[in-house]
Amino acid sequence: MDMKLDLEKFFKNVDIGDESESVDLQKFFKDVDIVDESEFVDFKNVRAGNRCCVGEKHVGISESCVGIEEEKKVIKKRKKESCLPLLDWVKSVAKDPCDPVIGSLPESYKWKAYGSEHVWKQVLMAKEAMSLKVNVDVDPNAKRSIWQKQKMHPDMYDDQSKKSYTRCSQRLIAIEENRSILLSRKPQVVDHAESSSSPVSDEEEDEDYLWCINYRKKRIPLGRFFQAEVPQWAGKTEESESKWLGTPVWPLKETENRTSLIEREPIGKGRQGSCGCQHISSLECVRFHVAEKRTRLKRELGSAFAKWKFDMMGEEVSLRWTKNEEKKFASIIKSNPESSGRCFWDVLVAYFKNKTRAVLVSYYFSVYLFRRRAHQNRADPSNVNSDDDELESTESILCSPNVHLKFTKSF
């Protein structure tokens, strides 16, 4: 069985030594800890390159090492006073975890039901005690804070969600189920069930699993492949680079000609409700005022206008496209929906060889989507959406009324 091979391979790394030597309990518990904490991957025997795969392997190991089949017999009672049987058991498990003579553990959620007469329970309790001890020892404030010891150890806080996933297992889920941020779009229906249970009942349930908390505790991986290198603070010794501070773009330099003809508007002025147009809020009206504002902005911004690539934005971008090109653009998008398995973007890039990708993106957002959105605003204002790249629309963008622009092409 693959699992058995993995287990053997794993325990070979555990330094058991001769039978006459005592097992390094602390080290063993650390190893067991790794096995249970399936995402603690920066273990010294683990190569960084395998860290994701290690997680996978260790899930398997964890299950077979700690929770084998529940039908198998539990270990015979051992005397509490003597800890030698405990060590013997640990050694035997380390040597051959799958030896049926050793017996097996029940599933983790049943652990609490078992008393400390079972040697495996004693092992888990010892591990718990040692991990608490290790944490307190590491804490630099341990000496002065008697009250801290009285407090609940953070490990023992109720696990609010049984379904809390460890971070590495999250990656495993991502690998296995192809789950990603893209797919986690508001799973509200399922969340309803989860959230409907009040915090109180969650806590009640979770008390039963207090035992299991250590073993499902999240662990951020530690090591030079995960953390940033943060030096000790010794005052301001290092000089922050004073060279790269950004290139000033605005306000404009004194030398640049600023026309004084620009009308000074108060900062933060909103859109005016009324205007002198014949048909207020018509397509022509909107286009006119947008163009008017754009002209003013261009004069005011001077060199900044081009630096910010404003000349590549706005519906005026379409003026650099021929009618045929615009038609072709729209038809490529329409004939390459996601369902076809083809990517319209690749087709666009391949067809419009004379246009850069930046130009295509700019046209897409400034003109194509913009017009589609304008169409939606008029056709169905309650159902506007410009974030789905392909929208099944009965109305073709090509059927939009052809509005004559009232101003010249060049500024």
Binding site: G49, V138, W147, Q148, Q150, P154, Y157, Q160, K163, S164, T166, Q170, S180, I181, L182, S184, P187, Q188, D191, E194, S195, S198, P199, I220, F225, F226, Q227, V230, P231, W233, K236, S240, L245, G246, T247, P251, G268, G270, R271, V290, K293, R294, L297, K307, K309, M312, M313, C343, R357, A358, F365, S366, F370, R373, A374, N377, P381, S386, D387, E390
Partner: protein
């Protein structure tokens, strides 16, 4: 209250013209829309705008591994099929596709945050804004959640050259796992993240019990929330926690990630915040009067992203903006109302009062475990820099220690009767 804050705003004209691919929710073009809207309200007249330098690979490698940076630099959509192992190793391909000009995009948004940090360090401004930044999921050796380079970590590392302690606050709907992980074991950076948690919501981390470890124990704070949180619940919780954090931790500078996917109606989010509610958090943080680095982050309904970050630019500039959006090249995206504010949704708030109370209690309890100004003497912190937004009587540092000792006293005896406070007067030294 200090005199007018000087604001440095970073923008590069090329940042909005990259395309992640069809149907990918991350649309950098939202940055163009934001910039347009900011300008249409004439906010540029109140601040200095800079084009960031493109961060060099060696700068990116201050946090990220050299081989990861090198791979990002050389991979492109035409050659990615030749490197399946590396693509898998660095988690590129699905959420984090390889697209044209991807590396340049990373250099721009990372350069913005790094330059912002440097300007703050050199005291050339009080507040620095980089809406293109805030990509908080990226890890040291891999991409994650649409993030390739973690500009926040790079910016914080820059700030750490001049400040003993940096506070990082994250109001994106997703847990700020990349930043938390980078600084999980140090007390020089405190990370505080408010996010949706549970039900397999990405990234899956961010439980309240994640509090940091070793030297960093208690220096990570996570506020896990459920669907539908509204303005009142969120801002109240935010103010309580952040006030306590600033009081306890006394950072020299604050980094605020303003992911707009915590807004109502976001394509990937599930909260119910209005723009005013979201912006209230920015207002609360600004009020502390500390040097402040503000970045963008998530936000997948681009019109709302533009609205949100424009309003927040206004907040940082102490400028109230009228609701009617002025004419601009993107006006139709804001139609039919062309209004700056957005309505909240009629959805249920699954965050009960008791749940929020429990979370708050756990967070505040963890905060009590931190000694004031860790690893640095109290005197290091210039007191006039820090203006608390609460009880003014607490300004005297001696009194503060007194309060702390009193807390300890109560905890040690494990009693909570007010009468115990009388014991303090009999103490020889306090």
């Amino acid at each position: 209250m200090r005199s007018k804050d000087r604001i440095s705003y970073f923008y590069d004209g090329d940042v909005g013209n990259v395309y992640f691919g069809p149907n990918h929710p991350m649309k950098p073009h939202r940055l163009c829309m934001t910039h347009h809207l900011v300008l249409s309200y004439d906010l540029h007249k109140k601040m200095e705008i800079y084009r960031p330098h493109k961060a060099y690979p060696v700068e990116l490698a201050q946090f990220h591994s050299a081989d990861y940076v090198e791979f990002l630099q050389r991979i492109n959509p035409d050659t990615q099929h030749l490197f399946p192992e590396e693509m898998a190793k660095f988690k590129l391909g699905e959420d984090c596709p390889v697209f044209d000009d991807m590396f340049e995009f990373c250099q721009i948004y990372a350069g913005g945050t790094i330059d912002a940090a440097r300007r703050l360090n050199n005291q050339l401004c009080d507040i620095a804004i980089n809406w293109a930044g805030g990509l908080h999921h990226a890890k040291k050796c891999e991409a994650s959640g649409f993030c390739y380079i973690n500009d926040l970590v790079l910016g914080i590392l820059e700030l750490l050259k001049y400040h003993a302690r940096v506070l990082y606050i994250d109001i994106d709907v997703h847990h700020g796992d990349g930043v938390e992980e980078a600084f999980y074991f140090t007390d020089r950076v405190m990370t505080v993240s408010f996010h949706k948690y549970g039900n397999l919501f990405f990234p899956g981390s961010g439980d309240v019990k994640e509090i940091g470890e070793r030297e960093g124990k208690f220096y990570a704070i996570n506020v896990p929330l459920k669907d539908g949180i509204d303005d009142i619940s969120f801002t109240r919780l935010f103010k309580t926690i952040i006030s306590k954090v600033v009081e306890t931790y006394q950072p020299g500078v604050i980094v605020l990630q303003c992911g707009a996917d915590s807004l109502a109606g976001d394509r990937l989010g599930c909260f119910n915040l209005s723009i005013d509610g979201h912006a209230e958090c920015v207002r609360i943080v600004k009020k502390f009067g500390l040097p402040l680095l503000v970045t963008g982050g998530g936000g997948y309904t681009k019109e709302n992203v533009a609205r949100c970050w424009t309003v927040e630019t206004g907040v940082l500039l102490d400028t109230e903006l009228p609701d009617e959006i002025p004419d601009n090249d993107y006006i139709k995206y804001f139609a039919p109302e062309c209004s700056l504010r957005i309505p909240t949704a009629h959805i249920e708030n699954f965050n009960s009062k008791s749940y929020l109370g429990t979370i708050k209690m756990q967070v505040l309890e963890n905060l009590r475990c931190i000694q004031h100004a860790p690893s640095v003497q109290m005197q290091e912190v210039p007191p006039d820099f820090y203006i608390p937004d609460f009880d003014e009587d607490e300004k005297n540092p001696d009194e503060r220690i007194d309060q702390h000792t009193r807390d300890k006293q109560i905890q040690r005896d494990d009693e909570y009767y007010e009468g115990d406070n009388d014991n303090d007067h009999n103490m020889d030294d306090v």
